[in-house]
Amino acid sequence: MRESTVMFLHYITAILIAITGLIHLLANNDPGIGAVIKANSALYFGNMAIFLAALLYHAFNGVRVILIEMVPDKCWTKWISWAVLIVGIVTYAVGLQVLMVALGFA
């Protein structure tokens, strides 16, 4: 994947995190709005699934950017990218299961 695609998704996920993260925060911290949001648990689960995906992409890509700036060697850069991708996918799979249990879908 071209670096511009990766970084464009980095910005898109940043905007997604700001929106879905705000919903997540309100749901857990504001009693009034939180009750309204959590009333439809399927929609809230969808929100959390998008939030988790966007957050993991943004966070792990951020870590990758910092690491390849620290270790600019060509070979290392390739391994860092793959390692970060695999760790990210595994974390998303586990996180999705935890979410399903917590919101009562499993």
Binding site: Y11, A14, I15, A18, L25, N29, D30, P31, L55, A59, G62, V63, I66, M70, T91, G95, V98, A102
Partner: protein, 140 residues
Amino acid sequence: MEAESEFKEYYAKNMRGISGWFKARAYTIERWLYAAHRITGILIVLFVLAHFYSTGWHPGLWWDALLGIIVTFHTANGIRLILAELGFAVGKPLLVKKPSQRPVSIEGVQRYLVVFALVLFFVLAAIWAYYALVVQPMMG
């Protein structure tokens, strides 16, 4: 012998290393924001990993307010960076320059964007602190 050649190489290369990321003195405010954005980013990743590991963990009361400062700074400055890095707030190249021209990308529209990001940061951090210090204890 090995150590000695490494020592020589260090001075011959003259790279600042990671301390160079945070050498913000003598430069403009964008450099401070860059350093702070990177540090807050790393701190948020650490928090998120802990938040996943024991689901829903958060540090509690005053630490929550500190977490709010970290997250809201990254958000507000991130909005500025998205606008600037995709070329929307850095102005146009000049055809006529003054004898000691200051860069348009720093002292043009982008200056207002910096102010906007800082104001947004303070407002968001205050709202977060209100929720962390007042609303959360009431919810129990």
